[in-house]
């Protein structure tokens, strides 16, 4: 996982509520055994028309969307399926953070584990951000993970919540597996006092 400490970038705005992971990456692209190269299928059915041509009215296709590392999304982003292919596709497309007023649980977990930062802002700050971006679409936003703050184009900082452990992992570019493998003796101790209810063999 690539570490993330602070990020300043322009944004793409996709202000729809309840964007589900079937939209982020449709199921027909999940027949892969790889985790890379999925950016090509990001929002495939919204970004491309029936003939595979880009739809000019879709925000990700806007001329000034290029190079944006922050997606500003609507409420309950990432609901639905548990596919980690959704954050993989967003990362592969070039995003490092998604700003919303709320994320679906599994999506948020998956994002944090793959190095995509979900930033939850209060509705008022989210609204202010949208207003500022509609005035100057290329205006940069800074996300400072160290300080746990999103700094809007007008310079106002907004603190966002993040689990301290997930923050530690992102800042240092380490995943949870190392930590869990380090729990070996505690896990063995648990196993010695708790017999398993089933055996699949």
């Amino acid at each position: 996982m690539k570490p993330l400490t602070s990020l300043t970038s322009s944004c793409v705005v996709l202000n729809a509520a309840n964007v589900d992971t079937d939209q982020i990456i449709p199921a027909r692209f999940l027949k892969t055994v790889e985790r890379h190269g999925l950016g090509a299928y990001l929002f495939a059915d919204w970004r491309l028309d029936g003939q595979g041509r880009t739809r000019p009215d879709f925000p990700l296709n806007a001329p000034d969307a290029g190079g944006a590392a922050i997606l500003v999304a609507g409420h309950n982003f990432g609901c639905g399926s548990s596919r980690e292919h959704a954050p993989w596709a967003l990362l592969d497309f070039g995003f490092r953070a998604v700003i919303s007023t709320g994320f679906a649980d599994i999506f948020r977990n998956n994002a944090l584990k793959t190095g995509l930062l979900p930033v939850t802002l209060p509705a008022s700050a989210h609204r202010a951000l949208l207003e500022q971006l509609s005035e100057s679409p290329r205006a940069p936003v800074t996300i400072d993970l160290e300080a746990q703050a999103a700094i809007l184009p007008d310079g106002t900082p907004h603190r966002f919540p993040i689990d301290p452990f997930a923050r530690h992992c992102l800042l240092n570019g380490v995943d949870e597996l190392g930590f869990l493998l380090g729990q070996d003796s505690a896990i063995a101790a648990y196993e010695s006092t708790h017999s398993s209810p089933v055996c699949t063999r």
């Binding site: 202000n15 309840n18 029936g50 709320g102 209810p197 063999r201």
Partner: protein
């Protein structure tokens, strides 16, 4: 201090390898890890690259369901959709062999949808923690097991350590009392709940379903309810075990036997929420007032009684909800105020981990018996597992469906998820017993109306969305 605990808290406490602190989430032990072909290959690859082993292969079970074809076997073999799907299935075989994991592959008579086979085999038991790289893992909560979906990174963590890092979710009660009217099923209950609390209404929470209406349901109906907990954003859904649960598990292949059975039953009987236990929130619903439900929009919370009218987005004000509704009606080609009854459909799909068990097929068959699928309508009936398929065939349900003009298919996820060859064509409409009506879920440009097996069957014979209560 109040020491009374909810069912969720009891299971949670019992699986703590390490409790959570401010800086660290809890380390939670996993009793059963279910694996399928789509969300596991990258996790096994990660294990390999780290030189890690699978800590408890005997607590792990794999099956093939998502990219599995359901077209009837030709000369005993299934025809896999394409080379990519075939490679994914082969990869699962290789991984299970290399890491010593039991696999119910395409040639195994126990193969089926992951959330159908766990309970069917008696592997899903009260008080367990169960995870799978699949959001509908909540299904297993019907047995009083804490069961939830995880992503592929977490699949890797569980393979390597049998544990997960978790923050304790909130706990919400959904109490449903009263007697269900005729024609109203478990599917209608859960659609009504999701419509009431909203698609994100249970985010961050584990739901516990209580009340007399829940107690009166069989296990398969309880699974239908817990299955769709995720559609309200819940982490998991739970129903406390009772005699219905115990009777269902008894005698299944992986159920405890002999002295272990009595001990297990004694343990399970402790698995109830204490009288004084506190939920973070409670929601009540009266079963008596429910009607068959159907979705009209593009997420499962957009549901109405079958004889209702499509809501007017303008009534939802001017915010995100209105935009969401407007967009949904445009996609579904519906007008505000329009009734759904009588709207023609192209396809009827009976299947998925929500409604593909024997009781679902019996309900649909009871409607189909002596009737015929309406001209121009394609009906697929897809059993959830090979066991369900043989059981249905032993009862003659396959003949009922085929004589009615429906397709009787092999077990798998089928048209619930358009990645195995079964899918809608652009612009087609379907009444489906599955769980998601997201745009394109059943095929690019396809339009999904979610409903119960009874409503699906009534629609198939009518050729248009129909009210089972009005079918003579």
């Amino acid at each position: 201090m109040n020491s009374a605990r909810t069912l969720f808290e009891k299971i949670w406490d019992d699986h703590l390898v390490r409790p959570e602190t401010e800086s660290n989430p809890a380390v939670l032990y996993v009793d059963l890890h279910l694996v399928h072909e789509v969300t596991s290959p990258q996790a096994f690859a990660e294990l390999r690259s780290r030189g890690a082993r699978v800590r408890r292969p005997e607590l792990t079970l794999a099956t093939m369901d998502h990219s599995t074809p359901t077209t009837p076997r030709a000369a005993g073999r299934l025809q896999v959709l394409d080379t990519q799907a075939a490679a994914q299935l082969e990869q699962l075989e290789t991984n299970c062999e290399e890491f010593g994991i039991q696999l119910f592959g395409l040639d195994d008579s126990r193969q089926g949808i992951v959330h159908v086979i766990g309970p069917e085999q008696g592997l899903t038991q009260p008080g367990m923690t169960i995870v799978c790289g699949d959001s509908h893992t909540s299904t297993h909560g019907a047995f009083g097991a804490l069961a939830f979906g995880i992503g592929t990174s977490e699949v890797g963590y569980v393979l390597a350590t049998q544990t997960l890092l978790q923050r304790k979710p909130r706990n919400m009660e959904i109490r449903i009392d009263g007697v269900l009217p005729p024609g109203v099923t478990a599917k209608d209950i859960i659609l009504a709940i999701i419509a009431k609390i909203g698609i994100g209404g249970a985010t961050g929470s584990v739901l516990e379903y209580t009340g007399s209406a829940i107690r009166s349901l069989g296990m398969e109906e309880r699974m239908t309810i817990c299955n769709m907990s995720i559609e309200a954003g819940a982490r998991a859904g739970l129903i406390a075990p009772d005699d219905t649960t115990i009777d269902y598990i008894a005698g299944r292949p992986f159920a405890p036997a002999g002295a272990a059975w009595a001990a297990a039953v004694a343990r399970w009987s402790q698995l109830v929420s204490d009288d004084e236990a506190q939920y973070d929130r409670s929601v009540h619903l009266d079963a008596t007032s429910l009607a068959p439900m159907i979705t009209f929009g593009t997420n499962p919370s957009m549901a109405i009684p079958i004889d209702g009218r499509v809501p007017d987005p303008a009534a939802a004000g001017s915010g995100a909800e209105r935009t969401d509704l407007d967009k949904a009606l445009r996609y579904m080609a519906l007008e505000p105020g329009q009734p759904l009854l009588g709207r023609a459909v192209d396809v009827v799909f009976v299947g998925s981990c929500t409604n593909s068990r024997i009781s679902d097929l019996r309900q649909a068959a009871a409607v189909m018996r002596g009737r015929h699928v309406a001209p121009g309508v394609r009906m697929l009936v897809v059993p959830g597992s090979r066991n369900v398929k043989s059981e249905a065939e032993a009862e003659g349900l396959d003949r009922v469906f085929m004589e009615a003009g429906a397709e009787w298919r092999e077990a798998g996820c089928s048209m619930c998820i358009a990645m195995n060859g079964d899918q809608l064509q652009p612009g087609q409409s379907a009444v489906s017993t599955s769980n998601r009506n997201f745009e394109g879920r059943q095929g690019k440009g396809g339009r999904t109306f979610l409903a119960s097996p009874l409503t699906a069957a009534a629609t198939a014979v009518t050729g248009a969305i129909a009210d089972i209560r009005a079918l003579s």
